[in-house]
């Protein structure tokens, strides 16, 4: 499903070249539930944003479902994000002035799905994460755990094969963390590939594989 060959990413910062990750080689199969761990600044987020097609590697090759993503243009990347990838973030990243139902519809708007179908599918997704009684609530009216559940509904509403999650429980209490990890388990059981970054060692037993990063490189876990 995911093949990374010699992936490196450098940033230019005030005329200094900073290397974020170097020579990453990894394969992730369909249906895997992969945790990425490592200290701050080890390049986890950079790797995740490349896996999520949010940025391109400076060098190396990224093949996603047989497509060489690292050679695509912006609009093709947008299409892959729209149809093949669902994102879950630590800070939820819901749009504050929209209701839960409107937030969940957003990926479908960009996928060109008509309003009637959008509404039906958004409701199904919210029901699936246990938010059937919160359609019209705005993010400010929801708790952190509830917001993250809406965000997960948004991530799965276009039926992506790959879920990318950046510290999905990082802002949540124990109870909500458990809710979220249960949802991820369900998605994993449903055959989706999940890659997530976490600092929470309690979550590692749920993963089928753990990738450890240090100084921009993968090390043995």
């Amino acid at each position: 499903m995911i093949e990374l060959y010699d992936i490196s990413k450098v940033f230019e910062l005030r005329n200094n070249i900073v290397s974020a990750i170097q020579n990453i080689n990894v394969k992730i199969d369909k249906g895997e539930f992969v945790a990425i761990v490592g200290p701050s600044g080890s390049g986890k987020s950079t790797l995740l944003s490349i896996l999520g097609c949010l940025s391109l590697p400076s060098s190396g090759q990224y093949v996603l479902s047989g497509v060489t993503v690292s050679e695509l243009d912006d609009d093709s990347l947008a299409e892959i994000r729209s149809l093949q990838i669902g994102f879950v973030f630590q800070s939820y990243n819901l749009i504050p002035r929209y209701s839960a139902l409107e937030n969940v519809q957003m990926p479908m708007i960009y996928a060109g799905i008509l309003e009637e179908e959008r509404l039906d599918r958004a409701k199904l997704a919210l029901n699936a994460v246990g938010m059937s009684d919160r359609y019209d609530h705005t993010p400010a009216e929801l708790s952190g755990g509830q917001q993250q559940r809406v965000a997960i509904a948004r991530a799965i509403v276009n039926n992506p094969k790959l879920i990318i999650a950046d510290e999905p429980t990082g802002s949540l209490d124990e109870h909500s963390t458990q809710d979220v990890i249960n949802l991820f388990q369900q998605l994993h059981m449903g055959g989706r590939t999940i890659v997530f970054v976490t600092h929470n060692m309690d979550l590692l037993p749920y993963a089928t594989r753990v990738l450890k990063m240090e100084h921009g490189q993968l090390v043995d876990a």
């Binding site: 949010l54 940025s55 947008a78």
Partner: protein
């Protein structure tokens, strides 16, 4: 459609965020649009109004008469007006003057104001001897009764067509047709009354030199010549085939007169061209002032919209990142911000239309002013404000669209 409403909601949100700046830019665009609409409607209305008065002379009218002031003060002053009935007959042959549609002589004594009497009512009026086509050339029409006929001219009948006000002054509300009227000892029978002519504006600027157009009396030029004992025509009136050939028509008439009189007279000519040019110059000036003030305020308003959109893009960098992560393409983001800037600008445009509506309504109230083709200026206002919105939003929107999704998501505000 949902996207439209969604973007409208967002534009209104942006307005709330930057209330003062937004209102200033809306005001700038509103003033710009208001000057476009107001000046447009006023200069169009002014043009219509002035033209309607110029038309009371016939826009293609021309006048030819003898120049009495000789260049050489020692030259023997010749007798006569320099235009005779024979000249008139020669002009009427098509071969003379192809640029002229029709002629009418105008015959009047040096003292052209005459005391007219009906019973005990008197009126001091200008009296002019004319031919059948005079009414058409001078854009006159008959309110009541009839025009002259060939027969009236040939048989030098004592019949008269009188101005609307002259009829009011001498006959009051009674029907004047068939009634008689005295010019000194000479008796005329009224056969027609002319429609009222409005020359209020031209009177106001002194262009009519006190000539009361509605107190005229017209009689057959042959009759007047007989009364005056002359064969002279004092002014040759004519109508050119079109506005474009007015000067050519004048040339043709002058050439014929010179040929027939062996260059013994010099002639003066007049046409409406100078008036039309002056009118266009003045209205062009008004339009120019309006355009300049419109451009300045639209520029200021446009810069304001640009400013708002730029800060809106910065404030919503994270949102842009989220949208991109969810699959928005560059074009989606670009369109969203362009729509927002256009909404703000069009709100300004609508405010401008409302503003100019107030100005125009008070104009209609205080001045006798009619609005024509206002819808052209309304659609122009909407069009211009849309264009300003698109221009002002272009660079901020382009910047928003080109943000990298991973950078935009990292952005904290």
């Amino acid at each position: 459609m949902r996207n439209f409403l969604e973007n409208l909601k967002q534009a209104l949100g942006a307005i709330k965020q930057n209330r003062l700046r937004t209102l200033m830019s809306i005001a700038g665009i509103a003033f710009g649009i208001a000057s476009v609409v107001t000046v447009g409607v006023i200069s169009q209305g002014g043009r219509d109004y002035i033209y309607s008065e110029l038309e009371t002379y016939g826009l293609n009218s021309i006048w030819v008469y003898r120049e009495w002031e000789e260049d050489n003060p020692f030259a023997k002053v010749r007798e006569g007006s320099g235009i005779t009935n024979d000249d008139y007959a020669a002009m009427k042959k098509k071969i003379c003057c192809p640029s002229v549609m029709m002629f009418s002589p105008s015959v009047y004594p040096e003292e052209w104001m005459k005391n007219l009497r009906v019973g005990n009512s008197f009126n001091n009026s200008s009296v002019e001897g004319v031919d059948v086509d005079y009414l058409k050339i001078n854009n006159d029409s008959i309110e009541k009764g009839r025009n002259f006929r060939k027969d009236d001219i040939v048989r030098k009948k004592h019949v008269a067509i009188i101005g609307f006000q002259l009829k009011e002054n001498l006959f009051g509300s009674t029907n004047p047709i068939g009634k008689s009227l005295h010019m000194g000892d000479v008796k005329f029978t009224v056969i027609g009354v002319l429609k009222f002519k409005n020359r209020e504006f031209l009177n106001a600027i002194g262009a009519t030199q006190g000539f009361e157009v509605n107190e005229r009396m017209l009689i057959p030029y042959t009759s007047y010549q007989q009364i005056m004992g002359t064969k002279d025509i004092h002014t040759m009136r004519a109508e050119a085939m079109s506005g474009a050939v007015v000067n050519k028509a004048l040339d043709e008439i002058i050439r014929l007169l010179h040929r027939r009189h062996g260059n013994r007279y010099t002639y003066q000519t007049e046409s409406m061209l100078a008036w039309i040019e002056t009118t266009n110059d003045v209205l062009g000036m008004v339009t120019l002032i309006g355009v300049v003030s419109a451009v300045v305020s639209l520029f200021v308003g446009g810069v304001g919209v640009f400013n708002i959109m730029s800060s809106s893009v910065i404030e919503r960098t994270r949102e842009i990142g989220i949208r991109k992560a969810l699959g928005a393409r560059k074009a989606d983001i670009m369109l969203q911000f362009l729509m927002e800037s256009t909404y703000i600008s069009v709100i300004g445009g609508i405010a401008g239309i409302v503003l100019s509506w107030f100005v125009l309504v008070s104009l209609i109230f205080f001045a006798d002013f009619t609005i024509s083709s206002a819808w052209i200026f309304l659609s122009a206002a909407i069009f211009v404000s849309t264009v300003v919105g698109l221009l002002a939003g272009y660079f901020p929107a382009k910047h928003a669209a080109s943000l990298s999704p991973s950078d935009a998501l990292r952005f904290e505000n």
